[in-house]
């Protein structure tokens, strides 16, 4: 009953979580819903237009596009979730260490993230992914290397804020162990904000992975992956426009749903998050926004511009 009441109060969130759940189900049950084997090449069926046999048509090797897109959902969703969890764990872990223990470790971690934030994302990712060798695993490593710093900075500033509170001082005074303070007091307090950040990140991570695959530095054939499918379809633009329309549409829909889902999750969780933490998260968002404007520098006096934009 509680759930029904909750959904009634947050209708937008309810609808979006159903849609997100639907995508997850598609990813999970792709083998059941698919009409064909996505790897099976039937050369005489090559480049068939969408029709009864092949809902979305076929590609140049005669593989069924509909089935490949369904399997592509699991490729994209699973790699995006793996990636977000890795970044989350590494970034949060290092951020907490930096914030709680300070000193040299903090210096090193923060300087590295300063360098990362003053570099164009995709270029660095391409360089790392390309040098390691093209594969989906290496693409995940490359994006991790570039993106963990965001969570580290956020976790660090949250820890620094909580450390000033009375209950931490009380815990210390009563002689609590470091591990006890970390697990019982720090972690539960910073978790909600970090989860919101992770949820709003899924969409852009899916996009990044797709663009890497599109450039040939991500998933390798014959893995069904949307970005790679688009780059394959590029050669047959004139003869087979469906190779271009459907994978692109799939990326677009999934990214939009996850972006909106993350936003509404934030709106719901936000009232429970106190003001100061909110402003910390906002600052991270500003950092990200600066990156979106494709250029940043740590010591940038344009900070007021960005602050003012996020009012």
């Amino acid at each position: 009953m509680k759930i029904i009441k909750f959904v009634r109060q947050n209708r937008q969130f309810g609808i979006l979580s159903i849609l997100a759940l639907f995508i997850l189900l598609v990813a999970l049950f792709a083998p059941v819903i698919a009409t064909h084997n996505p790897y099976e090449a039937v050369l005489q069926d090559a480049l068939q237009a969408p029709g009864k046999d092949h809902l979305f048509g076929t590609d140049v090797l005669g593989r069924d596009l509909y089935s490949r897109i369904l399997y592509g959902t699991s490729t994209s969703i699973s790699s995006a979730f793996i990636l977000v969890s890795i970044i989350f764990i590494i970034g949060t872990g290092l951020g907490i260490i930096a914030g709680y223990f300070g000193g040299v470790i903090e210096g090193i971690i923060m300087r590295i993230s300063d360098i990362m934030i003053s570099f164009p994302d995709l270029i660095l990712v391409i360089a790392i992914a390309g040098i390691l060798g093209p594969s989906l695993g290496n693409a995940i490593i490359a994006i991790t290397v570039v993106s963990w710093t965001k969570y580290a900075r956020l976790a660090r500033s949250l820890v620094l804020k909580i450390m000033q509170s009375d209950y931490i001082a009380a815990a210390r005074l009563t002689g609590s162990k470091t591990s006890h303070i970390l697990m019982k007091y720090l972690f539960p307090n910073i978790l909600p904000i970090l989860i919101v950040t992770a949820a709003t990140d899924i969409g852009s991570i899916i996009l990044q992975l797709a663009s890497l695959s599109f450039l040939g530095f991500g998933a390798q054939p014959p893995t069904p992956e949307w970005g790679y499918m688009l780059s394959e379809g590029r050669e047959f633009l004139q003869r087979a426009p469906w190779l271009l329309v459907f994978p692109g549409l799939a990326i677009f829909i999934v990214v939009v749903i996850f972006n909106l889902f993350g936003d509404s999750l934030r709106d719901i969780l936000d009232p429970n998050i106190d003001k100061e933490s909110k402003s910390l998260r906002k600052r991270e968002k500003e950092n990200e926004f600066k990156k979106d404007c494709k250029g940043t520098s740590r010591i940038h006096p344009s900070n007021w511009v960005i602050k003012w934009m996020w009012k």
Partner: protein, 326 residues
């Protein structure tokens, strides 16, 4: 003594500018060392890859002589210092695959990249300023909703999909524009620039809207209105100049990355820009080219950021007038 503007940002003093320049040099050393070690640690043998790319299966002897001529047989630090000394003398080395000097390869791509960067920024401004103003004036009315919906679409669509769709619609269906921009000219610039401009205008439109909305309720606007000045004149003479300031910062930032090359869009349209060169360099493990490119981007990025910081004073006379002890 520090100069602090009315809005709180620091104005760079001469000393700080010199500090920033020093910082740029230090970061360049760091970046060059990092890329050098990355290429050293990377799996795969560029000598083998070179023969493979030319369709030859190399013998052991051929591989060794190729490694020698590429300088791959020397120890890591020695390779780095040789490269560094050459680099300081303006010699970035020779590409493994194109057998041309890296500096020349980069220079050849510079003009198309600059053209694409400026043209797409121009398009972005042409689209986003009017749309942003309209959205702000008709806040929460139909026009505003439509424009906001469009910006949402623009932000959510992956750029490679937009590029391919434009390619399909304009180049193939309408047969108006050349599909592949092998040599540059105004026409060949339009589609790649439009692809970049669609994503950027979505963001810029929101900024313009927010900027105009911020100014529209300020005291001086109400004052002007009270004096009976026409709405259009208030908009053009008072609101616009004030709300365009933050845009200059954004433009500087966007320019920095556009000049680093926009790999995805350049690949789609086979545009001969830096991003395209970088992707092919990475794909073929052309180490000297990768190093030269990364060095170039870092330099580009940091110098443009510095120039933007310095230029504030000139764009907004208010900044820097107020002197505060700090």
């Amino acid at each position: 003594m520090r100069y602090i503007s009315t809005k709180g940002e620091k104005i760079l003093s001469k000393k700080e500018i010199i500090q920033r320049l020093l910082q740029i040099i230090i970061v360049l050393f760091g970046v060059s060392f990092l890329t050098f070690s990355l290429t050293y640690l990377a799996p795969g043998d560029p000598a083998y890859a070179m023969y493979e790319a030319n369709g030859v299966v190399p013998t052991q002897q051929m591989l060794e002589s190729a490694r020698q001529s590429m300088g791959l047989d020397k120890p890591f630090l020695m390779r780095y210092f040789t490269w560094l000394i050459n680099c300081l003398q303006g010699n970035l080395g020779t590409s493994f695959f194109k057998h041309k000097e890296v500096a020349i390869l980069l220079k050849d791509r510079l003009l198309p990249t600059i053209q694409l960067a400026f043209f797409s920024l121009l398009l972005t401004l042409i689209i986003s300023i009017p749309l942003g103003i309209i959205a702000a004036i008709y806040k929460n009315r139909l026009a505003d909703y439509i424009i906001r919906g469009l910006t949402f679409l623009g932000i959510s669509m992956p750029s490679f999909w937009v590029g391919l769709l434009l390619l399909y619609i304009f180049a193939l269906r309408l047969n108006r524009m050349p599909v592949i921009s092998s040599e540059f000219g105004f026409q060949k610039l339009v589609l790649p620039a439009a692809t970049l401009a669609i994503a950027m205008s979505a963001k810029y439109t929101r900024q313009v809207r927010a900027a105009v909305l911020e100014e529209i309720n300020k005291d001086y606007v109400i004052g002007a209105r009270a004096r009976g000045i026409e709405e259009n004149i208030i908009l053009i003479k008072h609101i616009l100049p004030n709300s365009m300031l933050p845009l200059i910062t954004l433009l500087g930032l966007s320019l920095g990355s556009l000049l680093a090359g926009t790999a995805v869009v350049e690949i789609i349209f086979s545009y001969p820009g830096l991003g395209n060169l970088a992707v092919s360099a990475v794909a073929t493990r052309d180490y000297p080219l990768i190093q030269g490119f990364v060095l170039w981007i870092s330099l580009m990025y940091m110098s443009i950021n510095l120039i933007v910081d310095i230029s504030y004073k000139y764009f907004d006379p208010r900044i820097g007038k107020k002197e505060v002890r700090g």
